[in-house]
């Protein structure tokens, strides 16, 4: 059983929703990013989404755009992202890590080699925002051979006609993008999310995580009533931004602040069904 499957099975047994924390690898620099990453599980992250920085993150709002650019400015590379996970795995062998980002850095690395190296480093799945189901057959066999889940996205525009294409080849979990918009932009509407989850749940046995637009403890709690997990990203990397000056200098305290926010959000998600 994969780490992802095992984690969602545990959550189901405990009848609670999971909390998925997104941070960008290398943001604001390699060491700070590692400090945050290694303590995410203790702060309540059931699954970690690690952003692969890209110069042109066209599905992301300003918070994640800036986090990507901070990482790149600090000299981050794909090899360093894999290193980060390798180091994390010396502390934690059970928390699933899913890489999230855009296709070009993976394509540039070489799809087959990337899947092999990512799996060896301890990565469990891939969310590639701009690799549509129509285009991913070139990567899917390599991911499968390496034991990596391809996590697909369903959105408010995914109608009954489109859903089978999204689910075909999906594994790990399904990621429901709760707003029509970029990350961190609009406010989530828990009622329409609950309504949207029904046909998804009916069509797949995969767990469904909900993200894009969860900003507060109240949002996390509301989503966790119906979703298998709540994902928060923009709010976390925006917390890092608060410690980065206009000159790019980092003031101390960023890891503590991010982890404290994770603790509050995770507690809301975990306690939602009590």
């Amino acid at each position: 059983m994969s780490r992802i499957a095992r984690r969602f099975a545990e959550l189901k047994k405990q009848n609670r929703a999971g909390f998925v924390a997104f941070i960008t690898a290398g943001d604001p620099n390699l060491e700070t990013s590692f400090e945050i990453l290694k303590d995410l599980p203790a702060a309540g992250a059931d699954v970690i989404e690690l952003g692969m920085p890209f110069t042109d993150p066209m599905a992301d709002g300003p918070a994640i755009q800036l986090s990507s650019l901070r990482a790149l400015k600090a000299g981050h590379t794909m090899a360093k992202t894999l290193d980060l996970v390798r180091r994390f795995r010396t502390h934690d062998q059970t928390t699933p890590i899913v890489l999230m980002g855009y296709y070009n850095p993976i394509y540039s690395y070489g799809g087959q080699k990337f899947c092999k190296d990512a799996s060896t480093a301890g990565i469990d799945g891939l969310i590639i925002v701009d690799l549509s189901p129509e285009e991913d057959p070139e990567l899917r066999p390599h991911a499968k051979a390496a034991g990596l889940d391809i996590i697909r996205l369903a959105t408010p525009t995914t109608d009954a006609k489109r859903l089978p294409a999204v689910l075909d080849g999906a594994s790990g979990f399904l990621y429901y993008v709760s707003i029509t918009g970029v990350t961190g932009s609009k406010d989530i509407d828990p009622i329409s999310v609950a309504k949207a989850l029904k046909p998804l749940k009916a069509a797949t046995s995969l767990p469904v995580a909900v993200g894009f637009g969860i900003k507060s403890e109240a949002d996390a709690k509301a989503v966790a009533q119906t979703a298998d997990a709540a994902v928060v990203g923009s709010a976390l990397v925006a917390e890092i931004s608060r410690f980065v000056g206009k000159d790019g200098k980092l003031s101390p305290g960023a890891p503590e602040a991010v982890l404290s926010l994770v603790r509050r959000l995770a507690a809301s998600a975990h306690g939602a069904r009590n």
Binding site: F54, T55, D56, P57, M58, A59, D60, G61, P62, Q65, L69, L72, T77, M78, Y102, Y103, N104, P105, I106, Y107, S108, Y109, V129, D130, L131, S132, P133, E134, E135, R152, L153, A154, T155, P156, T157, T158, D159, K161, R162, A165, V166, V177, T180, G181, V182, S185, K186
Partner: protein, 405 residues
Amino acid sequence: MSQLKPNSYKTGPDANGHFGLYGGRYVAETLMPLILDLERAYNEAKADPSFQAELDDFLEHYVGRPSPLYFAERLTEHFGGPKIYFKRDELNHTGAHKINNCMGQILLARRMGKTRIIAETGAGQHGVATATVAARFGLPCVVYMGEDDIKRQSPNVFRMRLLGAEVRPVSSGSRTLKDAMNEALRDWVSNVENTFYIIGTVAGPHPYPALVRDFQSVIGKEARAQMLAREGRLPDAAIACIGGGSNAMGLFYPFLDDPDVALYGVEAAGHGIETGQHAASLAGGRPGVLHGNRTYLLQDADGQIIEAHSISAGLDYPGIGPEHAWLHDMKRVNYVSATDQEALDAFQLCAKQEGIIPALEPAHALAYTGKLAKQLAKDKIILMNMCGRGDKDIFTVAERFGVKL
């Protein structure tokens, strides 16, 4: 790359939007249903004679087509070689070829019941053309433009505002065309229900590269017929500048299966290919995925996109249309380049010799035309696409010459 020569170079893209390795649909899932809808709507429109009739009517009476084929006699004498002809697409309404495509796309948007138009722009020519057709059909229009481009193309910014468009400055990344395209895609994801994205070049997710090519092919179709009428034969060479490559694709496409017509696409070499500061994705890039398609991109070893450089805002883009990438691999089109300085020299030469101030974009094509003219005999014919006029560039050129306007 060794590949068999196809029977025709005009059969692409395949059903999934691929030109060989290139093209495709690399977009966020939110956009996928829309892109599939757009493809359906476009196929229906293509099969509907009333759509083409409406488009033809607007092209004739609003855009001013056909554009003339002009024998550039003084430049021909200047170079002392083959006859040089200009396809005068700078004489279109709004001063460039961009409106050919915008007119087609806005008619498609209306057919699909969309009520809001967005676009990205580099030099501002596509933004102006989009703002123009949006005004003509009474649709609200938002144009994304990099902050750096807003500075170097201020007349076009004012024109767009006069036309009632909202110009939104983009301050992310390199603050040029690529970032404007990112921001337009972000807008589209956020407003999928009512918004039509008028992409300005032969790039983006399928069906855009094919759709824009088809709308721009009017350039090559006219030029081919005009040349036959005028000279009784086809040209020996056809030349166009390339940023994303829409004017070039429009000129080349009707000539692709004419083996005796050599085709030349001129990329922007900026300060010189060897300096790394250029916008020549074929000469200095490698295949990658950006903005919905796979194509040649300027990128570093880690797959991060490198900022392009060109004196011409319209060529300042780190990618190129996927069909060009394929034609490059197939060796059907020769892709060459011209530097900022060569384009500036050609810009001045054309103004003085022909009384035509070209845009900086086709000035690149003209720079190469001069080079090729020196290699060809007098009985040969060169056809160059004069795809835009230079009024918008006088500030950039004046600054370069140290002249205060």
